[in-house]
Symmetry: C2
Subunit: 340 residues, 2 copies
């Protein structure tokens, strides 16, 4: 078992000083070619690798960034992480993933432990609990310490920082119009409580589209689902009590569950009822019939967010204006809706 070797050892073995070794390894012009060769050969032979921790301490930068997300068992977040990872690696950074599990407390802990030197900056999507509480002191704190923060997807206006979002209201608006143009008139909405920023915006887009098309908004058709546990029940009671010809879910799960319910009630899709979901994931793709969805381009979102953070990390002048990037969405027409 050959332990990791340090500059100190190289110096001792080669009978030169540590700084000579350091310079030689960095090809400093100060050092003679002879010494450089000797040192580098030795280093290579013993598979010398500089110690990242020591470098971090010296340089006051770790080349690590932290991503704090509410949940990882979620296709959209998983795509975002892939995007972040890809871009960060490309730019020489490692990614530390932290899960808040939708908990405010865990989000705070994650932020605090990471902020103590482990990373250079944060990428964060708010937990539900944090959004409900509207308590953002932990975010302000890291920002005040001079640590860059980029928020994505689930963001807050109350925090002044770089952001990457989906244009949820518009995406939703377009989707509902799409349904209307395909011949639907009574469109049910399966959404989240309003404290979830994206749910709120998608609800807004839904309402605006109806308004603009002169369709009256029927609050009975708007179902707010808090947790997956209550999803089935709420969907069933919607089918029991209301009449409608389309369902728009603010995520793919909601739409797919509604579609199953329709299926089991013998409805023909999309002729008798259409379905659209948000966030194109495997569920949508492999549902039967396959689900028309709003594609959110999570991978791109991750890339953009990572790029934004790293740009800020590597620009020296502290720019105090913040950027907000909006990722375009698109509708992927599949089998669950009628062609327009």
């Amino acid at each position: 078992m050959k332990k990791k070797i340090t500059m100190k050892e190289i110096a001792r073995e080669l009978d030169v000083s540590i700084s000579t070794v350091s310079k030689a390894l960095n090809n400093s012009p100060e050092i003679s070619q002879d010494t450089i060769d000797k040192v580098q050969a030795f280093a290579k032979f013993y598979n010398y690798k500089p110690n990242n921790i020591a470098l971090s301490l010296k340089n006051k930068k770790t080349k690590n960034i932290a991503v704090i997300i509410p949940e990882i068992v979620h296709h959209f977040f998983t795509l975002i992480i892939s995007g972040i990872e890809q871009k960060a690696n490309e730019l020489g950074y490692n990614v530390i993933v932290c899960l808040s599990n939708e908990s405010f407390a865990k989000e705070v802990i994650n932020l605090e432990t990471m902020a103590s030197g482990s990373i250079d900056g944060f990428l964060l999507s708010l937990s539900k609990e944090t959004m409900a509480k509207k308590d953002f002191h932990h975010l302000r704190e890291v920002i005040n310490q001079g640590m860059p923060l980029v928020m994505f997807d689930r963001v807050s206006d109350e925090i002044y920082c770089d952001k990457v979002i989906i244009d949820d209201a518009r995406a939703s608006y377009n989707t509902v119009k799409h349904l209307i143009y395909s011949g639907c008139q009574r469109i049910a909405l399966l959404t989240t409580p309003d404290y979830v920023s994206v749910g709120k915006l998608r609800t807004l887009g839904y309402k605006n589209a109806l308004k603009d098309e002169g369709i009256e908004i029927d609050e009975n058709l708007i179902v707010r689902v808090e947790t997956v546990e209550e999803l089935d029940g709420k969907v069933k009671s919607l089918f029991d009590t209301e009449k409608f010809d389309a369902v728009f879910g603010v995520n793919e799960l909601y739409a797919v569950v509604a579609m199953r319910e329709a299926h089991s009630r013998g409805l023909i899709i999309p002729q008798e009822m259409s379905f659209v979901g948000f966030s194109d994931g495997i569920l949508s793709k492999y549902a039967y019939p396959s689900l028309t969805t709003v594609v959110q381009h999570g991978f791109e979102m991750g890339q953009k967010a990572a790029k934004m953070l790293i740009d800020r990390l590597e620009s020296d002048h502290t720019d105090d204006s913040y950027k907000m990037e909006v990722i375009k969405t698109s509708i992927l027409q599949r089998e669950s809706t009628k062609p327009v």
Copy 2:
């Protein structure tokens, strides 16, 4: 913007030495209660947090562990990560997630960059390419450096280290028997090429079950799928050319895609054809009809693996015997198979 404060600053402000501050913060009995109170109050007020990097350098341990997985956009891996994260956090460790994207080269790079001080140990599931190449020098190298490695799910006999696996052969064996007892006779298998260890074992279990039940193995019913791209085509041609009454997929995607094909050919499920998949994810749960699957308990696998690694990190005596933990699977009977 109040920058992070260090012990040095506290010492200067309070007019004591740095070592006094250090001891006071650690409640050393050497220090007078007075000083302790003073220092701690000051530290609290300025929100002092010890710098992790400095601690890592000093203690030669980072309290970070790296997980290297082939893909994150995959429910099973995502569950494993959640389990790892939960357990690691509980035991005071952070998790750095690295994606190999099924590439040998990226796996090597991940290992190398992480091994240079950033982490205390590895959790790894092999990339497909690595399994195909059977080149494990990078793993041997980190092990030789004295860095603990725990492999999970996609493991190799050639590497001597702790492992956590599913008993794939047995799980598969049981599943096929389950199908047979439910009345199926000709069971098609959708599997991976043999270099994917889990695919190979599941194929083995399938064959053994048939043998033990006196059913002849028909190689035409065994379809090996390398990538998702070729999945659809291979499934279609299976349906075109063979007769069978059940499909067993070595993952949920394979099973669901086959089920869709059956659906679109008007087959009645499960009366005319049964379906079972491996790895219970959202696809299985929300498929129509819902898919009977082998539950792999990824979360537990993650927890076990993390626990194993951290146990090794924190035990002083270098135990040179390695543990292999097998996670039990179970069959979750849903709508896609007939009751036994």
